[in-house]
């Protein structure tokens, strides 16, 4: 990897800003364009860039594949959990008005924030999982090619 000096340096500079921008898009979605879906993809792109430049193993030591697989389900559970919570409070599924007993508008703000977070977690985790799966398969392909070349 020593020959890829420029991508390494550039990635090191860019990745923090990509992740920060992902968080900005995540939590600024109420005010500007964006939201959980776009934020999840941007965040995943930062991790994927790290994996591309520094290797799959390095990326998986930061974010293990098992953790990502769990996060995939967690995001969806957070989203559906908000719906169940509003039902427990006596309303309809995903009726955020009830999340704040004093002000329905605050309940809406809270509900949107939480479900967008769930969307972001699931989308980022799914994108990273798909990439991990593809990249993890690459070694097997190379092994097979090496075996067929050797024989």
């Amino acid at each position: 990897m020593i020959h890829h000096l420029i991508p390494r340096v550039l990635a090191k500079l860019l990745i923090p800003f990509i992740l920060l921008f992902g968080l900005y898009v995540q939590f600024h979605g109420d005010f500007g364009p964006g939201g959980g879906f776009q934020a999840g993809v941007i965040f995943a792109a930062g991790i994927i860039l790290y994996a591309l430049i520094y290797g799959l193993q390095a990326a998986q030591s930061v974010i293990p594949a098992r953790l990502v697989a769990a996060l995939m389900a967690l995001g969806l559970l957070i989203y559906a959990g908000v719906g169940v919570a509003t039902m427990m409070l006596g309303g309809n599924f995903l009726d955020y008005d009830l999340l704040d007993s004093h002000d329905p508008v605050h309940g809406q703000h809270l509900g949107i924030l939480v479900i967008e977070f769930g969307v972001g977690v699931t989308v980022a985790a799914v994108m990273i999982t798909i990439f991990y799966q593809f990249a993890g398969r690459l070694h097997l392909v190379r092994d097979l090619e090496a075996e067929s070349d050797g024989s």
Binding site: V25, D30, F31, G32, P33, G34, G35, F37, Q38, V41, I42, A44, A45, I48, L52, Y54, G55, L56, Q57, A58, A65, R66, A69, M72, A73, G75, L76, Y79, A80, G83, L94, Y96, V105, Q108, H109, G111, I112, I115, E116, G118, V119, T122, V123, A125, V126, M127, T129, I130, F131, Y132, Q133, F134, A135, G136, R137, L138, H139, L140, V141, R142
Partner: protein, 195 residues
């Protein structure tokens, strides 16, 4: 002619050129990159249509992640092998021309772009625009519609994304290097993981 129409025409011409390039090219690597460029151009078209949220998604997903995943697929398959040039086929050509002609004919029944009298603007859209500041109070009405008014739809979309992830895991997840803790945890050759 105003500037926006000129930009529209240029973008659409570029889209057409890129699409022809995708069909004509034999090199899969170039095709994947052109598909990314196509998505970026589409993002610009969506921006011109004032659909910034859609443009954002198109740029992030279409040009970003799907390009990376396509390149990952190319790394898995033999990307150097060129497509076999197909012979001229009359029926597909006739079908595409007929479909295209039908779509262009259907355009005459469409309302003008941005027309306030379009059927899409007359159903629930006035309610959303009127009531979002009162009921939800977030400046981005798109977020209010997606996350609150149509929260159940979005839950379904997240479930679709989740299912896609589970599907990929089910199809490719038998790879011991990534997921199993046991016998073949990871081969000790670090340089291979770096490539």
């Amino acid at each position: 002619m105003n500037w926006e129409a000129l930009i529209d025409i240029m973008l659409l011409a570029l889209l057409l050129l890129v699409a022809i390039g995708i069909v004509r090219l034999r090199n899969l690597f170039a095709v994947v990159l052109l598909a990314g460029i196509y998505s970026l151009l589409m993002a610009l078209v969506f921006t011109l249509l004032d659909a910034v949220d859609v443009a954002f998604t198109e740029a992030a997903v279409g040009a970003g992640v799907s390009t990376i995943l396509s390149l990952g697929t190319l790394a898995l398959i033999d990307s150097q092998r060129e497509k076999i040039p197909s012979r001229f086929a009359f029926t597909p050509l006739l079908l595409s021309v007929a479909t295209g002609a039908l779509l262009i004919w259907g355009l005459s029944g469409m309302p003008e772009v941005g027309s306030p009298d379009a059927p899409a603007q007359l159903h629930v859209a006035p309610y959303y625009i009127e009531m979002t500041p009162v009921e939800i109070d977030v400046p981005n009405i798109v977020t209010a519609v997606l996350a609150s008014y149509r929260g159940f739809d979005t839950l379904g979309e997240v479930a679709v994304v989740f299912t896609a992830g589970v599907g990929v895991m089910a199809l490719l997840g038998s790879i011991p290097a990534v997921y199993s803790r046991g016998r073949r945890r990871r081969q000790p050759d670090a340089e291979r993981a770096d490539t």
